[in-house]
């Protein structure tokens, strides 16, 4: 379908230019129509239905698991003494981590004036919001009395008691809710001009009305654009420290505890690095199939993929440094508990998990040193998948393996996830997919007006 819109003269593949962030030959008209048509066209590829169905089916699994959870209690999971936190917190951290790339791309790369971001920031932001939505579920459901989870919110109540602001979990409440809100605002504001485009391009009445309301009467006035640009920069300026703070705060959940393997000052930086790492892996995981499915190779070019691969490599090295420092500090501190905790990761009952984590996060990404690998779509896709798994394993090691053997050997135990742990996890993946597919069907998954900005014609007008 997309070929109809591809301008004559431009080659069908993105092998046009290795440096191009947009294939040549595009005009304001073709860019607009091509992207808008994905949301507006009647024809939907069968792959979309496949994906959306999978997503919704798994979402049902999530609902079933949660219903059973609320009826029986968290005992249906593998959590126990000493491992009070299992899959729930593990997956919470994993999702939050994934939810970092979007804002990072939109905010930091905007401040750094990286125009190549324009074609990936939109769905990266969407991914962020959906990932945070999935993450947000876990802290609520993992508590013993979920119907009282709202007690974590500071509100005047008949007991006249307040949350304990010294607890990292309260910090989480603030950090995650702020992050979710700001990401949502950023995402929406970024979409207003494109919503106006859809409004003006839509044929069906309901579509006109829907997009019309969402566009809030945007008309592209120069004065509006001026303030709009200001707001975008300001939001980017605010989101940048925010995105760094969120995973820092999440890392406090562990670093502020005294459990050997948790109580480390290295945690905040290497959690943030890990988050970017995981985030970009997920962006790649989504971008690679999407550009193929909707023929967007011209917009999401190999240059984009390569840049993301470079970021993967860099953050992966930072994460590796984190692991190294963790081990070194444990050794250097001479603290018997810390030393045992690290040794237990490497040779204890969960050693297989630790070493596969090392393989996924540290060893395998080294292949990205090679330009060939960075520019090979299949390799990148596999790489991204491996990193997704690796980051999940990392959280397993941090949450479970640290807890299962702490100070008093008499209390040591093992953690065994139950079928309900798995079904809940699969369920949130389903929710994520479902939201993602709805998004690409109904909203412009690439920022149209920002694509216009990188057209040669636009550059000319700016006298560049």
């Amino acid at each position: 379908m997309s070929d109809a819109l591809r301008p004559t003269g431009s080659s069908p593949t993105s092998e046009t230019s290795s440096r191009a962030i947009l294939a040549p030959g595009y005009s304001f008209t073709s860019v607009t129509d091509k992207i808008a048509s994905i949301a507006l066209s009647r024809r939907t590829p069968w792959q979309w239905f496949l994906g959306a169905l999978t997503g919704f089916a798994l979402t049902m699994v999530l609902l079933a698991s949660l219903s059973y959870l609320f009826v029986k209690g968290v005992g249906i999971w593998g959590v126990n003494q000493p491992v009070g936190w299992g899959f729930a917190i593990l997956n919470f951290v994993w999702w939050i981590g994934i939810g970092h790339a979007g804002t990072l791309i939109s905010a930091i790369l905007l401040l750094l004036r990286q125009p190549w971001r324009n074609s990936i920031n939109r769905f990266a932001e969407a991914m962020t919001i959906f990932a945070v939505a999935c993450a947000g579920i876990y802290p609520l459901i993992h508590v013993g009395r979920p119907w009282l989870a709202y007690w974590l919110i500071p509100y005047p109540n008949s007991m006249s008691v307040w949350p304990n602001f010294r607890s990292p979990l309260i910090w989480d409440v603030f950090a995650v809710s702020t992050y979710a809100t700001v990401s949502l605002l950023f995402w929406y504001v970024g979409m207003i001009p494109d919503l106006a485009t859809l409004r003006d391009r839509a044929k069906k009445l309901w579509a006109k009305m829907l997009y019309g309301m969402l566009a809030m009467g945007w008309r592209g006035s120069a004065r509006h654009w001026a303030r709009y640009e200001q707001a975008s920069l300001l939001l980017a300026g605010l989101a940048t420290p925010l995105v760094v703070s969120v995973h820092t705060v999440v890392s406090f959940d562990f670093a502020a505890g005294i459990v050997p393997g948790w109580h480390a000052t290295i945690f905040p930086p290497y959690f943030v690095a890990g988050a970017i790492y995981a985030g970009f892996a997920m962006v790649l995981t989504l971008a690679i199939p999407l550009r193929k499915l909707y023929g967007l190779e011209d917009f999401i070019t190999v240059r984009h993929l390569e840049n993301m691969a470079k970021i993967l490599l860099a953050t992966g090295l930072i994460v590796g440094y984190g692991y190294l420092m963790e081990a070194f500090m444990a050794f250097y501190s001479g603290n018997v508990y810390e030393r045992y905790a690290i040794a237990n990761r490497m040779v204890g009952p969960y050693r297989t998990i630790y070493w596969s984590l090392i393989f996924c996060n540290i060893i395998s990404p080294q292949i990205l040193w090679f330009r060939k690998a960075r520019r090979s779509v299949p390799i990148l896709f596999v790489m991204a998948m491996i990193v997704n798994v690796g980051m999940w394993l990392e959280r397993f090691v941090i949450v479970v393996v640290s807890l299962h053997r702490d100070f008093l050997p008499s209390s040591w135990g093992m953690y065994r996830p139950t079928a309900w742990d798995w079904s809940t996890f699969a369920g949130t993946i389903g929710l994520f997919l479902a939201l993602m597919f709805l998004f690409i069907r109904l909203l412009p998954m690439i920022s149209i007006f920002e694509m216009r900005q990188i057209l040669p014609a636009a550059k000319a007008a700016e006298g560049e």
């Binding site: 959940d253 008093l408 050997p409």
Partner: protein
């Protein structure tokens, strides 16, 4: 288990060794895979278990109808007894009878409901302490599985019908002067019962009274018989003994008065001149765990050791053996004439007892550390012989009427007697029993027995001191006491249990009877009833000639039959508290297992939880094995009391019935056991998976010598904790009281009484085997057990762990909703109704003493389950964290009393549940802000240390290091001493 050798090398280096569950890589990996790939689709407590735990709410729903609710127990009172103040508990002195011996207790009654058992200071077997059985037997009172009706062949009958049947039976027997009449009872020391029996038999001279106690004291009496030519009751003054040699006498956990023994023994462990304990045993016991020198020996080995020592001290003729251990012990005993003590366990053959007596006689210990009195247990000689004879008579058709009072012979009788089959030959079989159990099923008449908190009775303590047992509540199911039951066969069938007991004592109490009676009932002891010490003529039989008993040939396995450490001989099998109580050494719950030594396991190639076939004298039993460090080579311990078929919903199907292997020719041990691997697997629920301290200074042990050398020996172990002023935070204003707890590890014998007491006091739910396997046991106080040293004979240490009530508590900081906060008096308070259940506090608790209600563990529907609860303690609901509260309800009770009288709370006025029952008095609670308080004095000792205090938690619960007093003349003394200094 090919990695045993490698493991032993590692272990041989006296360093701490890793858990058996994770033996070497291969075993470790196997376990790992097993755990990884077994993904239980868990619905929490499954239906059957739920029923078990719920204590049969269903059954109760119907039964409340046929439960006679005594009007006295419905509040508000119409005519209130003057001493009852609603909300104020009352305490009644009575006794818990175990194996026939009375252990004095005070039973707490809330609004007429007995809810808690405490020790009775006045009772010689208690002195304020109790054991786990006494703590748990209050739960049995409310057991919905108890037999609730009087029935004939399953038909419900009135008491009068039974009386008629009994009279008829007696009438039938009269012509034969009772030749066909047999009374079969368990061991009893009840004077009233003995008198009734004598009376009944006087009327029918040919009738017989047969006593069968599955784990009874027959060997003890037989030993005295062998030594002195008369059946005597030896009891021991451990507080006067400087050197003790125990020949598998587990006096700290078993025997007539373990609580008293622990008290006396512990009183000699604290000081600067501790006693010295040598233990030779085939299977590890709590006593062995306290030993300064422990020797794992086969039964024959124990006997030859006894001979060697006897010979060395000149008690018997014969050459002194070359065994250095025996020589050293003998030397030590000789050096402490009159203050030494040698004793043998119930499981030892008469010969060993006789040898012990001989040694004590020779060394002049008799009369000093060992006292002889007439037998406390009434009735004819029991043991396998008596039961075998009865079985023979029954099989021969000589028995026409069999009256079974209590006990459960069909379940407990030696397998080779085929007792059930013989019993069916008896035309009329009548039974009194707490449960409609295996025995009742084979009886024509079954009479529901009244629980000992429901009936009048009496019993004697180890020294003969009598106690009047008084009821606290009318029989819930209209049960009858043994006295009333027995009276049915005499002319007194119209008398109530109260009259029977009172009438017996009427003639025997000095002075004004009513006063004396009131006093006796009130105090829980009848003054002047202790037996006078006897000084038996040392007319010792020539023991030296006697050949050693059942000698096992090399390489042959020996089966050891022992009462289980938590369910005893099976009488307590339906008690959920005891079922879930971790066994002191294996830490197993809800099951028994064949305990084998590591080397035996290596030879057989079996690992923990492997199912094996046990074959003994043509009998067969399939059972899982559990590797027990310190188990004597070639000895396999088979705990009795499990595998019940009609024991009640809790008991049935739990564990394996070792009685099926037990023969009358070897009640306690029998050589010739064969073990075959089946390849099957049976999961066992243990509460402790790791057994080494990993070189951490958790349980600190010093030798007396080291402590004398350097008073700071204990403090020098491990990293020093931060001082009181090493903090950045401003001090919060101090309150008048600062509660603290001190636990003396030198005194603690690891008996678990504190665990059950805490469970009873604080309404702690039982979670069941499945939840225990998932690491969700709920006990607020646990007793950790660690091994140090060699795999085959490790040093075993115990450590009770409560909430430390840290002054800088890590758990408080992380709770997002401030559900756990600090009180001005230093209590780490758990606010249940504020808790949302993030479990963060538990993660951040370095002591892992917090417990979480993963499901709705507490039994809300069952009415009967509510009756045993402490009305002053919240019953926790699902999704809530809980933990030791220092018995805050008791603190506040004392506070209210003090404020009412406008005075400060006195020291010792607050006694926590664990402290109250501790037989060794190892636990002291009080106000550490008051330098004069007992707890301050305890904490002031130089052995004091805080667990993990180097983390800066500033724990309020602190420990006193354990003391060992090894004999330098023996090898490994230093190792055994655990001398870190």
């Amino acid at each position: 288990m090919s990695d045993f050798t490698r493991l032993r090398e590692a272990a041989g280096t006296a360093g701490p060794w890793r858990s058996l569950g994770e033996l070497g890589a291969s075993a470790d990996f196997r376990e790992h895979l097993h755990r990884e790939f077994r993904v239980p689709i868990d619905s929490g407590v499954d239906r059957r278990e739920l029923l078990t735990l719920a204590g049969a709410s269903l059954a109760m729903a119907g039964l409340t109808a046929c439960t006679r609710q005594p009007t006295e127990h419905i509040y508000p009172y119409v005519k209130a007894p003057e001493e009852v103040v609603p909300g104020e508990p009352l305490f009644y002195a009575t006794a818990h009878v175990h194996g026939g011996y009375a252990r004095g207790v005070l039973a707490e009654s809330n609004e007429g409901r007995p809810t808690k058992i405490e020790g009775n200071e006045l009772h010689p077997a208690s002195l304020g302490g109790t054991d786990i059985f006494a703590q748990a037997f209050v739960l049995g009172l409310y057991d919905p599985d108890r037999s609730q009706t009087l029935s004939e062949r399953g038909e419900i009958r009135p008491w009068s019908a039974f009386l008629a049947a009994a009279r008829l039976a007696v009438g039938k027997e009269r012509p034969g002067r009772g030749a066909g009449l047999r009374f079969l009872t368990g061991a009893t020391s009840s004077p009233t019962f003995a008198a009734q029996m004598a009376q009944t038999i006087a009327a029918l001279p040919e009738a017989r009274w047969v006593v069968w106690e599955p784990a009874g004291r027959e060997n003890v009496y037989a030993g005295a018989q062998a030594a002195f030519g008369e059946r005597l009751e030896p009891h021991y003054a451990f507080d006067r003994a400087d050197v003790i040699l125990s020949l598998e006498a587990d006096f700290l956990a078993e025997g007539p008065a373990p609580a008293r023994a622990a008290r006396d023994f512990a009183s000699r462990r604290r000081g600067d001149s501790p006693n010295r304990l040598y233990v030779a045993e085939s299977t590890p016991t709590l006593t062995g765990a306290r030993a300064d020198h422990r020797r794992p020996l086969t039964p024959a080995g124990i006997e030859s050791l006894a001979r060697a020592v006897a010979a060395a001290v000149g008690a018997i003729s014969g050459a002194a053996s070359s065994d250095p251990f025996a020589a050293a012990v003998a030397k030590d005993l000789l050096a402490h004439r009159g203050s030494g003590l040698v004793l043998a366990g119930e499981g030892q053959p008469a010969a060993v007892h006789a040898l012990a007596h001989a040694i004590n006689e020779r060394l002049g210990n008799a009369g000093k550390t060992v006292v002889y009195t007439e037998p406390v247990l009434a009735g004819p000689p029991g043991g396998a012989a008596a039961l075998a004879q009865l079985a023979e008579e029954m099989r021969a058709g000589k028995v026409t009427t069999l009256v079974v009072v209590g006990g459960n012979p069909v379940y407990t009788a030696p397998a080779d007697l085929r007792f059930a089959e013989a019993m069916e030959k008896v035309p009329l079989r009548l039974r009194l029993g707490l449960y409609e159990d295996e025995t009742s099923r084979l009886c024509h008449w079954h009479v529901a027995e009244a629980h000992s908190l429901e009936a009048w009775s009496d019993a004697r303590a180890y020294d003969g001191t009598a106690t009047i047992l008084q009821p606290l509540i009318l029989p819930l199911y209209g049960g009858k006491s043994a006295h009333e039951f027995l009276a049915a066969f005499s002319e007194q069938s119209d008398k109530t249990g109260h009259d029977l007991v009172k009438d017996f004592w009427r003639a025997r109490l000095p002075g004004d009877f009513d006063t004396a009676w009131r006093k006796a009932v009130h105090d829980g002891v009848v003054e002047g009833t202790a037996f006078a010490p006897r000084s038996p003529s040392p007319s010792l039989r020539p023991l030296d000639a006697k050949p050693p008993g059942a000698a096992e040939t090399a390489g042959e396995l020996t089966a050891l039959f022992r009462p289980d450490s938590t369910v005893g001989d099976g009488a307590y099998a339906n008690n959920a508290w005891l079922q879930e109580l971790p066994k002191p050494l294996t830490k197993l719950t809800w099951d028994n297992a064949a305990l084998i030594s590591p080397s035996t396991a290596e030879n057989l190639g079996v690992a923990n939880e492997d199912l094996v076939d046990l074959l003994l004298a043509g009998r067969r039993l399939t059972m899982p094995v559990w590797i027990q460090p310190g188990q004597a080579e070639g000895c396999v311990t088979l705990p009795l009391g499990y595998g019940r078929t009609r024991g009640g919903r809790v008991a049935n199907g739990k564990g394996f019935d070792a009685y099926a292997l037990r023969g009358s020719d070897g009640l306690w041990s029998r050589a010739g056991l064969e073990i075959r691997k089946t390849g099957g697997h049976y999961p066992l629920a243990t509460t402790q998976h790791h057994h080494a301290m990993e070189g951490r200074d958790i349980v600190r042990t010093v030798t007396a010598a080291a402590l004398a050398r350097d008073p700071d020996a204990v403090r020098k172990m491990g990293e020093p904790p931060p001082g009181p002023d090493d903090t950045l935070y401003p001090k919060l204003p101090a309150a008048a009281y600062a509660w603290g707890l001190s636990i003396d590890l030198a005194a603690c014998v690891g008996c678990n009484a504190c665990v059950v007491a805490c469970q009873a006091e604080n309404n702690i739910p039982v979670v069941g085997k499945h939840e225990v396997t998932r690491g969700r046991a709920m006990h607020w106080i646990r007793v950790d057990r660690y091994y140090e040293g060699s795999l085959d004979d490790p040093l075993t240490v115990h450590q009770p762990v409560t909430c430390m009530h840290c002054e800088d508590a890590p758990c408080e900081t992380v709770c997002p909703v401030a559900a756990t906060v600090h009180s001005a008096e230093g209590l780490n308070q758990m606010v249940y109704n504020r808790c949302v259940g993030t479990r963060y506090c538990s993660n951040n608790c370095p002591y892992k003493v917090r417990r979480f209600n993963y499901f709705l563990y507490s039994d809300f529907p069952t009415e009967l389950a509510k009756m045993v609860r402490n009305p002053e303690v919240t019953v926790r609901s699902r999704g809530v964290m809980e933990k030791c509260s220092y018995c805050v309800q008791r603190i506040n009770r004392a506070r209210i009393a003090a404020e009412r009288e406008n005075r400060p709370i006195a020291d010792g006025e607050i006694v926590t549940a664990c402290q109250q029952v501790c037989p060794a008095r190892a636990i002291v609670f009080g106000n550490i802000a008051d330098p004069g308080s007992a707890v301050s004095k305890a904490r002031g000792q130089r052995r004091q240390y805080g667990l993990l205090a180097e983390l800066g938690t500033r724990p309020r619960t602190t420990y006193l290091a354990s003391i060992r007093n090894p004999n330098d003349a023996l090898p490994g003394a230093a190792k055994t001493g655990g001398d870190h200094a």
